[in-house]
């Protein structure tokens, strides 16, 4: 579990970082952010990048900004930055609640929001958040800037549409309406483990009926996504057991479940029903 040899680059500016990245990208050069996923993978020699572009010293990437429309999260912002709400908008409380479910405290002190998205673990809470809220990813390279919508960012298990020479410089999350409600639930074997399935939901109430419902599902399929079939079960209905159950059933029926040696497809499909319903129930608490 000693990594293969590599060269570590420590750029101080974004331009410098992008330049080095462009040079080493072809030689399996990789960005090192919090290292909480990449370093273990290197220790197991599942990845043997010849170059690491360490962005931990790059100026300007550590910003969290709320401009009244969106929350912008820079590439160096750690999970722990969200332990307390970063904005008075309901999004702040949502992120704080979700953040607590990511790994363990020491890992949250190092791991980054953008690193989680770039790493694209199917169970990642931040990937689920980005998918549910339709985040926009800002990818930068020496060639310029690209904006990528969450719905077209993920490309299966631990894979994204980022190019080799692109740095995910920031992620933009739209603020929630002031009256938005949210709910989150995940199921894992132990506290801090990657979820076997997780769901994030938001909606508003209009005359006692749910509207603008978003039902995001993570850990159940190769990439997290919104489940339209479940959302359809909520819009126009009163929040409560009947609608929540129907949404769970719809999500469960709509997915192509992942399988691994601890979790077969049938169990995961079954679990999704419960996880979506419990996320919705959480929205009432």
């Amino acid at each position: 579990m000693k990594p293969a040899p590599f060269v570590r680059h420590v750029p101080r500016s974004l331009d410098e970082a992008l330049k080095i990245l462009a040079e080493v990208a072809g030689d399996d050069g990789r960005i090192l952010a919090g290292g909480q996923s990449l370093v273990p993978i290197m220790a197991f020699r599942l990845a043997k990048p010849a170059h690491l572009v360490d962005i931990n010293e790059v100026e300007g990437l550590d910003k969290i900004a709320d401009d009244g429309q969106t929350l912008t999260i820079g590439a160096r912002v750690r999970h722990a930055a969200f332990h307390k709400p970063v904005t008075a908008n309901p999004l702040g409380a949502l992120l704080a609640y979700v953040a607590r479910h990511i790994a363990h405290y020491p890992i949250r002190m190092r791991g980054t929001f953008c690193g989680s998205l770039a790493h694209a673990d199917p169970s990642s809470e931040w990937c689920l958040t980005a998918a549910t809220l339709d985040a926009v990813m800002i990818a930068k390279s020496v060639k310029g800037i690209r904006e990528i919508k969450a719905a077209s960012f993920f490309d299966g298990i631990m894979s994204t549409h980022l190019k080799e020479d692109e740095l995910l410089a920031e992620v933009r999350l739209p603020l929630l309406p002031a009256d938005a409600k949210f709910g989150f639930y995940e199921f894992s074997r132990r506290a801090g483990d990657f979820a076997m399935s997780a769901s994030l939901v938001t909606y508003r109430l209009d005359g006692g009926k749910m509207t603008d419902a978003r039902v995001g599902l993570g850990g159940a399929e190769a990439s997290p996504r919104r489940i339209a079939e479940a959302e359809a079960q909520l819009n126009g209905k009163a929040p409560g057991d009947a609608a929540f159950r129907a949404a769970g059933e719809a999500a469960s029926a709509a997915i192509e479940p992942l399988e691994d040696h601890q979790t077969d497809a049938a169990y995961r499909r079954d679990l999704v029903k419960v996880v979506v319903r419990r996320a919705l129930e959480h929205s009432l608490k």
């Binding site: 579990m1 000693k2 990594p3 293969a4 040899p5 273990p40 197991f44 020699r45 199921f187 074997r189 132990r190 506290a191 801090g192 483990d193 990657f194 076997m196 040696h261 601890q262 979790t263 077969d264 169990y267 079954d270 679990l271 419960v274």
Partner: protein, 757 residues
């Protein structure tokens, strides 16, 4: 002789071990370094079963910093690793060589080793060693028909049978027969310090040294010595701090032998530190058994006979423990109950998985699960509750000492003392059983799936046949206690110091306990089988008595007193009644240099048998299959607790491991023999969040009659019945007796059980 005024036995004094560990001065295997050392990396088989056709190390040898690569040809002169315990002759052809020769038999089997300038280069080079292996079909289940081990042998090296009484007659006369098939999953002790071994040849002294020893340094010194042709005088083992043992750490493994052989051959220090992935596929696994058990019972649910056939999955080879685990499973299965006739037939089976050895409560975690499931099934059969059925079958105190008519570890099993029914009552009271039952009934009526379980067990401890202790009061007043026992973190320094201090009449903190150093004492048996407090403890008491009378005799001359009228209090020799001048032990040591030395031994042919009761209450989330442990009570009678806090620590830690085996930990393989649990992300150890608060009741109702202090060991009672207790509680929560038939109870498995209704 006057009773010492300073009481240490029975007090929860702070651990002497903690200071270096808490101040960052712990020195573990990886902290040992010698100038000019080479790093060793093991090239392991990626194939579960195959014929090894060739190894090409040319590319590795060509790399900068690579010194050598060894394959079987370089170690062909070494015999396979011998057995330490329960070494049945028929098992010998199945022992493991330090490197694979013709066949590879599990993923992780050492096939070559690389020696290089550092661990990074060694790992780069190990990756470059090319193996040519022709894959063969693996045997993955011990319950399948045995397959070929090689051209002439099959994968069932032996079948052990243990029995007494007329089993067939009892089944003919039974009012009813209860039959179950039960399985325990493959898991093991996973100490946080992985294994490590550093071989060093001291050319000036002509002495070979191995650092990183643990558990059984003397046996390993003698055995590796025999393998390498070294004697007790020119080969020594050294134990540093040890980050957990649990049965698996400290046995002789291929890597230990190779670092020693290579240090001798190259005359270079050779350092090997295992990484976590290696640990999970290379160090001993344990526990995997399937039992088919039946009980003949009468109308009241009293046991007339038990007949058990089981399949023990030992992985690819027979390692140092040989038949120990299945032997203990068979011998200890009857537990605290009266079983008039008994037969256990244990198939020792090899599979293409990591070889197995003992793990805390070896054979008993398994057989307690099986027996207690059986008792619960008997309760369901006759329609009484799980407490009543146990009371009907428990051995009464009047039956003690109770000869079970079975042997294990070279000893006859004779339960030395115990009041099992009393402890059951005490445990239920501690758990608030009656109130708990009411609460459960109420919550159940509200739709919650909650339930409680009980499991009882008899443990064994204090395995002989001997232990020696040497004591010396040094001229500076310090007291040195040298023993051949070993420390795996359990607190032996503190416990031995307490026994010595109280017997001698000094402060326990003045005693320096030296263990695990083969050059300091001629023989010793190390730390396993919950033996140290009993065996080394009694040897310590005896040596302390001797030292005390020696000191008093010598002091009597100088103080012109009758030794009978002298006492030692807090390191000071005083006259009875406190009148007249006194003398410090250190002054006596100065006056009589080299004379205040005493040695003694304790020999014992019988083990001593602590016993316990666990009570668990759980809540099942039927929709996900998750289990939450809401309450956990452990009552354990250890005869006499030298240090109650240390005993509690043993029990609490043991519980965490028991929970691991019950709900989380499992080494899984795919059909091709590829291990699937090779990181801490796949092999799930319970963490502080999964281990519930527990309540521990230590009792001293049944001191052992086999040693004067009444000691019994306490190392394994926290682990032994956990799978059984949790299974019983889950059954109750589901209101389905017999629902749980295998461990671990994972959410997916439990969800499937819940969905079946």
């Amino acid at each position: 002789m006057a009773e010492p005024k300073n009481k240490f036995i029975g007090r929860s004094v702070p651990r002497l071990e903690d200071r270096p560990l808490l101040t960052g001065r712990g020195r573990f295997a990886a902290d040992v370094n010698f100038p000019g050392q080479w790093a060793m990396r093991v090239v392991r088989s990626p194939v579960a079963h195959g014929r090894l056709r060739g190894i090409d190390a040319a590319a590795a040898l060509a790399m900068d910093g690579v010194h050598a690569v060894w394959t079987f040809a370089d170690v062909a002169h070494l015999p396979p690793i011998p057995f330490r315990l329960t070494g049945l002759v028929e098992l010998e052809p199945y022992r493991q060589h330090v490197l694979a020769s013709e066949y590879v038999r599990y993923v992780g089997e050492p096939v070559a080793v690389v020696f290089a300038a550092d661990a990074y280069i060694a790992e780069d080079a190990a990756e470059a060693v090319e193996l040519d292996i022709e894959p063969l079909k693996p045997v993955m289940k011990a319950t399948d028909e045995p397959g070929p081990f090689d051209e002439s042998k099959r994968t069932e090296p032996s079948v052990i049978v243990k029995s007494y009484g007329d089993v067939e007659a009892a089944f003919r006369q039974a009012d009813s027969i209860v039959t179950l098939e039960l399985a325990v999953g493959r898991h093991s002790g996973v100490p946080l310090e992985t294994r490590g071994a550093i071989g060093f040849y001291n050319e000036a002294l002509g002495r070979l040294e191995m650092h990183g020893a643990a558990k059984v340094p003397h046996w390993n010194r003698d055995t590796i010595g025999r393998m390498l042709g070294r004697t007790r005088d020119d080969f020594q083992l050294f134990e540093g701090h040890v980050g957990g043992g649990f049965g698996i750490r400290g046995e002789i493994y291929p890597e230990d032998v190779i670092v020693c052989a290579a240090a001798l051959h190259f005359k270079k220090p050779i350092k090997w530190i295992e990484d976590r992935r290696e640990h999970l596929i290379a160090a001993n696994h344990s526990r995997q058994q399937t039992h088919r058990i039946r009980a003949a019972i009468d109308r009241k649910g009293r046991i007339l006979a038990i007949d058990d056939e089981f399949f023990h999955d030992n992985g690819a080879y027979m390692r140092t423990h040989a038949a120990t685990v299945p032997d203990l499973a068979a011998a200890m299965l009857p537990g605290p109950y009266r079983v008039p006739a008994y037969r256990a037939t244990g198939h020792i089976r090899l599979t293409n998985k990591t070889p197995c050895g003992t793990y805390r409560a070896p054979g008993r975690y398994e057989s307690t699960f099986v027996r207690e499931r059986l008792i619960d099934a008997i309760a369901a059969n006759v329609g009484v509750n799980k407490v009543e059925i146990r009371k009907r079958n428990l051995l009464p105190q009047s039956a003690m000492p109770y000869a079970l008519n079975l042997d294990t570890l070279g000893t006859h099993i004779v339960y030395d003392s115990g009041d099992y029914a009393l402890l059951l009552d005490k445990a239920l009271e501690r758990a608030g059983w009656a109130k708990l039952q009411k609460e459960i009934a109420k919550r159940r009526a509200n739709g919650e799936k909650v339930g409680a379980g009980v499991a009882m067990f008899v443990e064994k401890s204090g395995l002989g046949p001997f232990d020696d202790v040497r004591l010396e009061i040094k001229a500076d007043g310090g007291i040195e206690l040298v023993t051949g026992a070993a420390s795996v973190g359990q607190g032996i320094e503190t416990a031995m110091a307490q026994i010595c201090a109280e017997t001698l009449g000094v402060d326990y903190a003045t005693i320096n306990v030296v263990h695990g150093q083969t050059d300091r004492i001629g023989r010793g048996l190390g730390a396993f089988a919950s033996r140290v407090t009993v065996m080394t403890g009694e040897a310590t008491r005896r040596a302390s008595e001797r030292l005390r009378s020696k000191a008093l005799t010598l002091a009597a001359e100088l103080m012109q007193a009758d030794p009978e009228q002298l006492d030692i209090v807090d390191g000071e020799i005083v006259r009875e009644g406190g009148a007249g001048p006194s003398m410090k032990l250190s002054d006596l040591a100065k006056a009589k240099p080299g004379e205040l030395i005493a040695e003694d031994s304790f020999e014992s042919k019988h083990m001593v048998y602590p016993y316990g009761v666990h009570v668990a209450a759980v809540r099942v989330d039927a929709e996900t299959g998750a289990v939450a442990i809401e309450k956990y009570v452990m009552a354990y009678d250890v005869g006499r607790a030298v240090n109650p806090t240390l005993v509690e620590g043993q029990i609490a830690g043991g519980l965490a491991q028991g929970i691991g085996g019950a709900l989380y930990e499992e080494f899984l393989y795919d059909e091709g023999g590829e291990p699937l649990s090779v990181t801490f992300a796949d092999y799930l150890m319970p963490t502080a969040r999964e281990v519930p608060p527990s309540s521990i009741l230590i009792t001293e109702d049944a001191p052992s009659p086999l040693n004067p202090l009444g000691l019994k060991g306490a190392g394994e009672g926290g682990t032994n019945p956990v799978g059984a207790a949790i299974a019983s509680a889950i059954d109750d929560a589901l209101q389905r007796p017999g629902a749980i038939v295998s461990l671990p109870v994972t959410p997916q498995r439990l969800r499937a059980i819940c969905a079946k209704t």
